[in-house]
């Protein structure tokens, strides 16, 4: 692990100032990704600014009926929040499907949005990796790529976005709030927060260096109570997704009714939390039955491009989505 200097910030602007002024500085929140990657020599910052003491750990009701989640709310606290469980069950379920109780007690909402890929070649700090060392090549393209992405890939990088919470947030139309130097704030729809890799896989989000996530806002949409998250993986718990689906359905007259609107996002198969407007269009206006769900799944995976070892993910993701939609359609809300 490279040596770094460490200090704790008490206020957001102090933290932002410290990081923005040093190109090799990083914010440190829960540490569940960053400390791991420091130890692997994948991350080599000169300065860590510990932001855990910043006053950003509240879950608040917004005037219009939405919810504001502070960036330092721990995953476990968010998952168990009563309002979240009732109004956005997909989010609670996604959080509880991720990692372990210990890690959920540590990980934060802001940090979870910045989670790095589990690509073995990215993590070993030796293999060619365009994400870790731009221009060095991609060992995963020719290597073992069973866990890699089938959507959003490029000839530079096929690393999967590993998270669950951001997939649910993508389906919920969440909005990320940030703060930059000089107090400038901005809001970024979650769907625009992560970027597809293209030619620049090292860039994973639209955040600028030194820009701090302060909160995530969830909109007030009553039918999001009919939402669920399904995660399929190699073992029953404490494992990353091979495929996951975050879905919400607005059914005319409730259970058994036609689909007025739908939200679909996929995890474990794409280079970023993958909102599928194609699947949503296929569902809108349809009867909520297996044929419609299957058509949506075909639409969601139409652009999928398999690698040598991950072709199974395409059918797995389709079935995951069909089952998640079936579950949502049957929910008593």
């Amino acid at each position: 692990m490279n040596l770094f200097s460490f200090h704790q910030a008490a206020q957001p602007d102090e933290a932002i100032h410290s990081v923005a002024g040093d190109p090799h500085a990083k914010f440190l929140a829960g540490g569940t990704t960053l400390v791991d990657l420091l130890r692997l020599n994948v991350e080599t910052p000169d300065t860590l600014v510990d932001i855990n003491a910043l006053p950003l750990a509240k879950i608040e009701a917004l005037p219009g009926g939405g919810v504001r989640i502070g960036a330092l709310v721990r995953n476990s606290d968010l998952a168990n929040d009563k309002a979240i469980r009732q109004r956005y069950p997909v989010l609670s379920e996604a959080l509880l499907s991720g990692a372990s109780p210990q890690l959920r007690n540590m990980a934060t909402v802001g940090g979870n949005l910045m989670q790095r890929t589990r690509c073995y070649y990215f993590r070993d700090a030796i293999s060619p990796c365009n994400k870790r060392q731009p221009g060095s090549g991609c060992a995963a393209l020719e290597g073992y790529n069973r866990i890699h992405a089938v959507l959003g890939t490029s000839d530079k990088c096929i690393a999967t976005f590993p998270g669950d919470m951001p997939v649910a947030m993508a389906a919920l139309d969440a909005v990320v709030r940030t703060r930059r130097r000089n107090g400038a704030e901005r809001t970024i729809p979650l769907a625009d927060f992560h970027v597809s890799y293209g030619d620049e896989p090292a860039r994973e989000s639209v955040l600028e260096h030194g820009e701090l996530i302060t909160a995530v806002d969830l909109p007030a949409v009553p039918w999001l109570a009919r939402s669920t998250y399904l995660k399929v993986r190699d073992r029953a718990s404490y494992e990353f997704a091979l495929a996951s689906a975050a879905v919400a359905l607005d059914l005319e007259g409730g259970r058994g009714g036609r689909i007025r609107a739908a939200r679909v996002a996929l995890g474990g198969v794409a280079t970023k939390p993958w909102r599928s407007h194609e699947a949503e269009q296929a569902l809108t206006g349809a009867k909520a039955d297996e044929a419609a769900f299957r058509a949506a799944a075909e639409a969601a995976l139409q652009a999928a491009q398999p690698q040598k070892h991950n072709g199974f993910k395409i059918e797995l993701a389709k079935r995951t989505l069909v089952r998640a939609l079936s579950t949502a359609a049957e929910m008593k809300v």
Binding site: N2, L3, P23, D46, Q102
Partner: protein, 227 residues
């Protein structure tokens, strides 16, 4: 508290050779010497990076300055099992290594050191977390409880007693993490059925496969059925 006060009770004095060095003390000093070696390597690497990027004057110079003036140690105060510990630490020190190598509390185990096994589980402010992925400096001013802090004198914590009663271990390496994790589970609450307990304990791996007895012990400790 110094290292000699925390000798393994089962380690006979005869294990100290004529130079007065016990196995554990020797290992302890060997391990604490390592960061100094790593530091030298890291500094050399950083210097190499600066040289490699020499033409980009701005950041490279800043990095060079930062490297040469970087404080090598931090003053960190930890509250561990009710005792204040004033420590001077390398900023890279994990809470796990600090507990084991600086404070001498070797009950907390290092399994994977990457957040994948749960052997290093401790409580911070009564919540279970992984000490391998927590920098010691992040825990400054917070209340850390390790497996050594659970019993009251000779009276075992109910979770410890239940693990003994149900023979909930084989080699024992994961056991401190399992026990501390189960104490955290009791604070959090978990439904009393085996499937739920398994999920609530999923962050602790046991290579011996003592899971059925671990589930039984946790159920007993939380006041439910144990069979």
């Amino acid at each position: 508290m110094n290292r000699d006060d925390i000798r393994d009770p089962e380690e006979p004095d005869a294990a100290e050779d004529q130079t007065g060095w016990s196995r554990r003390v020797f290992l302890g000093y060997s391990l604490t010497a390592l960061p100094a070696v790593r530091f030298a390597a890291a500094t050399a690497r950083a210097a190499g990076k600066v040289a490699a990027h020499g033409k980009t004057a701005g950041p490279a110079v800043a990095r060079s300055t930062a490297t040469s003036t970087m404080p090598v140690t931090l003053n960190v105060t930890l509250n561990v099992n009710g005792q204040e510990q004033h420590l001077q630490l390398d900023p890279r020190a994990s809470l796990l290594d600090t507990l084991r190598e600086e404070i001498g509390l070797t009950g907390t185990k290092k399994g994977c050191d990457h957040g994948q096994c749960g052997a290093c589980t401790v409580l911070i402010d009564d919540r279970r977390v992984l000490s391998c992925l927590t920098l010691a400096a992040m825990a400054s001013g917070r209340r850390v409880t390790t497996v050594e802090g659970l019993a009251h004198g000779d009276q075992l914590h109910p979770v410890q007693a239940a693990f003994v009663k149900h023979d909930a271990f084989q080699c024992g390496f994961c056991t401190p993490g399992q026990i501390v994790s189960a104490v955290g589970l009791l604070h959090e609450g978990c439904p009393d059925d085996p499937a739920a307990i398994r999920e609530c304990m999923s962050g602790n791996l046991c290579r011996c496969g003592a899971y059925p007895n671990i589930v039984a012990a946790v159920r007993e400790a939380r006041g439910g059925k144990s069979a």
